[in-house]
């Protein structure tokens, strides 16, 4: 049986191995992270000082749109799917994913989707310029012709996500090693199981939204066109019915990752495992009834406003429970601060700050002032960058020795961490201030009263970008020439993944492991 991987390029094209596919997802996401980062730097360069210096306003809008889309659909989501591919079978003692051929397909359609999306930058009329939220009618009647390609790209990304989600559910529900009951599963597996259900529930809604757009643009319908009896607000309801669960799709697996890392480096079991599971489920369920908190200013009836305000405030309770549990896990532990732990601690602190601004945004009357300003940009970057990106980074440092069999350079890891940590705060903290001072988001130019904060943000962005180059270098040099890692890698970590050799052999758990 012990046959290794095929040779050459076709290994990657035809592979059905969860480890190969996981690696491809991760590299793809890394590439998209840099692409989205370049777009962000164009935005920050233009905003370095007042006046139009580098780009035209229309191109600026294309940059914000592409940055948002590439980061959300290209960097964060594929990274989590990649981690799930690698780790879920290893964590539950399964030989591979349940549906390996579909696994291959769900990865390989992604590069095409993003090639199509990126190609719109070179089309007449330019790339999509209506924001990653693509509100109609700006994205329909008033859109550049490339919007059709955008719609197809979204469809493909959606199909990929749905296939990935089905695969993960099928794997977790059917392929656990005997004795691995649901309440024994690692948190990462739990959070991904719940995330996968969210994906299956909402990706079709997104597909519906873009299909209605397609019909409005090419087939004379008026779903979102008021002149034809349609309703532009309907678009926003449909979009955010997808969009709000989507933000949890980007954070629940992150909860799972730090729930694996913090206990290892605190040398103490995760505090409140079952309450963590219930809190995750509660967040997922509540995430379906809070969508209109993105729409407090569209003129909903007062009853709707009140409902969505209270529901949103409610969702912060289970989120708080998770944070308190992590803190309690650290309390009275015996902590060391290797790179994965540093990123995880930064995750807990900075995600909490993002949570604070989230609670502020939930106060509907105050949201009338915050909405669509840089305060919101600060908020969602505090939950996405230290939330999603830091947890992914932490996961990569944590599991890279298992994947590659080699240890990363700890000093360089720490340099990466501190550069990223400082860069991130210098970039995004001032955005709270510019937002409160009244700077709207998605503008290429602004009054001098916002100039100082913007200049600081732009400097921070360059720092943050530089930090990621350190990361890239560290990962590559580890794979090529890191020193050998032990099978356990860390000090007595918990989980089946540490029972297999480093690097993890091409096939693992062909015989199910015994679960105590």
């Amino acid at each position: 049986m012990a046959h290794g991987p095929a040779k050459g390029l076709t290994r990657w094209l035809y592979t059905t191995n969860h480890k190969d596919i996981g690696s491809m997802y991760l590299w793809f996401s890394f590439a998209m992270f840099f692409l989205g980062g370049i777009f962000a730097l164009v935005i920050r360069a233009e905003l370095f000082q007042p006046g139009l210096q580098i780009v035209e306003p229309n191109f600026f809008n294309q940059m914000t749109t592409m940055h948002g889309l590439v980061m959300v659909f290209g960097a964060v989501m594929p990274a989590f799917v990649g981690l799930a591919n690698w780790m879920v079978p290893l964590m539950i003692g399964a030989p591979d994913m349940a549906l390996p051929r579909m696994n291959n397909w769900s990865f390989w359609i992604l590069p095409f989707a993003f090639a199509m999306l990126s190609s719109t930058l070179f089309m007449t009329g330019g790339a999509p310029n209506f924001g990653w939220t693509f509100y109609a009618p700006l994205s329909t009647t008033y859109a550049p012709p490339s919007v059709t390609f955008f719609i197809f790209a979204i469809h493909i990304m959606g199909a990929s996500s749905i296939m990935g989600a089905i695969n993960i559910i099928a794997t977790i529900l059917n392929m656990r090693a005997p004795g691995m009951t649901l309440m024994k599963m690692p948190m990462f597996v739990w959070t991904w199981l719940i995330t996968a259900f969210l994906l299956i529930a909402v990706m079709p809604v997104l597909a519906g939204a873009v299909t209605m757009m397609l019909m409005d643009i090419h087939f004379g319908t008026s779903f979102f066109d008021a002149a034809g009896g349609g309703d532009p607000v309907l678009f926003q309801h449909v979009f955010w019915f997808f969009g709000h669960p989507e933000v949890y799709i980007m954070i629940l697996p992150a909860f799972g990752i730090v729930s694996a890392i913090i206990p290892t480096f605190a040398r103490k079991p995760l505090f409140g495992y079952s309450s963590m599971v219930y809190a995750t489920a509660a967040i997922a369920i509540l995430s379906f009834v809070v969508w209109a908190h993105h729409m407090f200013t569209v003129g909903m009836p007062i009853a709707g406003e009140l409902f969505f305000m209270w529901a949103t405030m409610l969702i912060s309770v289970p989120t708080g429970v998770k944070i308190f549990n992590w803190v309690a896990t650290m309390f009275k532990g015996s902590m060391t601060f290797e790179t994965p732990m540093l990123f995880s601690i930064a995750f807990v602190i900075l995600f909490t700050i993002g949570g604070f601004s989230g609670v502020m945004l939930a106060i509907a009357p105050a949201d009338f002032q915050y909405h669509d300003t840089y305060f919101v940009v600060a908020h969602f970057h505090y939950v996405l960058v230290p939330g999603a990106i830091f947890s992914i980074t932490a996961g990569v440092y944590y599991w890279l020795p298992k994947w590659s069999g080699r240890m990363y350079n700890e000093t360089m890891g720490k340099v990466h961490f501190w550069l990223a940590f400082i860069g991130l705060n210098v970039t995004f903290f001032p955005m709270h201030f510019s937002g409160l001072a009244g700077m709207p988001r998605r503008i290429p130019d602004y009054n001098m009263m916002f100039a100082d904060w913007n200049m600081i943000s732009s400097v921070g962005a360059v720092l943050f970008g530089a930090a990621q180059l350190v990361f890239l270098y560290n990962v590559i040099s580890t794979i090529l020439s890191g020193k050998k890692a032990t099978d356990e890698v860390w000090d007595n970590p918990e989980g089946l993944e540490w029972t297999v050799p480093s690097p993890a052999p091409y096939h693992t758990f062909t015989e199910p492991p015994a679960i105590k």
Partner: protein, 381 residues
């Protein structure tokens, strides 16, 4: 990209100098402003106090949570030889840290709900203003007063492109501000003509999405005379960053005087419709109207933006039948960004801009439209 990189380097160097030289700006613009304005309406002050309350709650929770974290990061580290404890469950704790945040939220939710209900109470207004968002200007109509006008950005391109030094109200200045009386309940009815915009004046805590086909409402009682500035707060296309809102709050007497002045000006313009103009008069005026109202899309040289906004230079419309040309400008092209200018511009302005477009940029048609032609066109003749 190279250019960008070089610029970035230059800026990095200039950064320190700029911070030092910043003093010159400081006298004119408020800098380092970091908090929400309490504003000048009862609602805006309530909103501000909600904002500060919830902020201090967050600070308090942060101090506790981060405090415990930092203490344990300091005390409970392996390098101090600590042996880890092994506790991993406590129902009491779980209940506590569910219940306490819950209680805090209820304490915040009640005043927030009250303010929200108040904010929605637009009944019994004394002045009604209909606000319509256009790409990229605001139209204001004082209902019942027969006063209606457009309000557009006046910041010159020179300042935006950095050829001239920027004024204090850079990007926050308009040709005709909305004038309102103080101490009266004003109701804003907000809608849009093309895409979604959002009318926002921070000092009033009024932000209402302007949505085509819908009319939203909001209200304010302005307690202090003054000039209040805001911006569009919903991405509405290319010039989203360039459609400010300026409101001037005046005493009742001054407000009445302004209304009278507006009405007189409208009458004077109506009179001009009858008057024939020479080609040169129309052409000169047309150039000005064009740069104000059309150049945002069709560009100053008439070359347009390929695939988005058609060129008017050598355009079949500008070189074709003048009646069709007038029709496009007056009625717009349904379902495109080309809006109906019939109600945005006066007859004189439309006649002028059509005349201009037909001869400028080597279109060389040399014919002209008179205001009366536009008037007749609008009447369907």
């Amino acid at each position: 990209m190279l250019k960008t990189a070089r610029r970035l380097c230059a800026w990095m160097l200039g950064f320190t100098c700029l911070l030092a030289a910043g003093g010159a700006l400081a006298e004119e613009v408020e800098r380092w402003k970091f908090n929400m304005t309490p504003g000048v309406t009862p609602i805006s002050q309530n909103v501000y106090s909600l904002h500060m309350q919830i902020f201090w709650w967050c600070v308090a929770i942060g101090v506790v949570v981060f405090g415990i974290m930092f203490v344990s990061m300091f005390l409970h580290r392996k390098s101090r030889g600590v042996k880890p404890a092994n506790f991993h469950e406590s129902t009491l704790l779980e209940l506590l840290w569910t219940a306490i945040p819950f209680a805090i939220l209820i304490m915040m939710g009640i005043p927030a709900s009250k303010t929200l209900i108040d904010l929605y109470d637009t009944e019994k207004s004394e002045v009604d203003v209909l606000i319509t968002g256009y790409q990229w200007s605001w139209k204001y109509e004082i209902l019942g007063e027969d006063v209606s006008f457009f309000s557009k950005l006046t910041t010159p391109t020179d300042q935006i492109e950095g050829h001239a030094s920027k004024g204090v109200n850079y990007l926050l200045e308009v040709d005709e501000p909305l004038v309102l009386p103080v101490n009266k309940k004003i109701r804003f009815l907000v809608t849009a003509n093309d895409v979604i915009h959002s009318w926002w004046v921070p000092a009033f805590a009024v932000k209402r999405d302007a949505i085509p086909g819908f009319i939203n409402d909001a209200w304010a009682v302005i307690t202090e005379p003054g000039i209040y500035r805001g911006q569009c707060a919903e991405l509405c296309g290319k010039d989203h960053g360039f459609m400010p809102v300026v409101v001037e709050a005046k005493s009742e007497a001054d407000y009445q005087a302004w209304l009278a002045e507006k009405k007189a000006a409208a009458a004077a313009i109506a009179e001009l419709t009858e008057k024939p103009f020479t080609f040169d008069e129309l052409y000169a005026k047309g150039e000005e109207v064009y740069s104000r109202s059309c150049a945002a899309c069709h560009l100053a040289g008439g070359q347009g933006v390929p695939g988005v906004f058609p060129a008017l230079k050598d355009s079949p419309v500008a070189l074709g039948d003048i009646n069709h040309h007038i029709d496009v400008v007056v009625n717009g092209v349904a379902g495109t960004a080309m809006q109906a200018f019939g109600e945005q511009l006066s007859e004189v302005d439309i006649a002028a801009v059509v005349t201009y477009e037909r001869t400028a940029w080597d279109n060389n048609m040399g014919d002209l439209a008179q205001p009366i032609d536009i008037y007749n066109h609008k009447q369907g003749k």
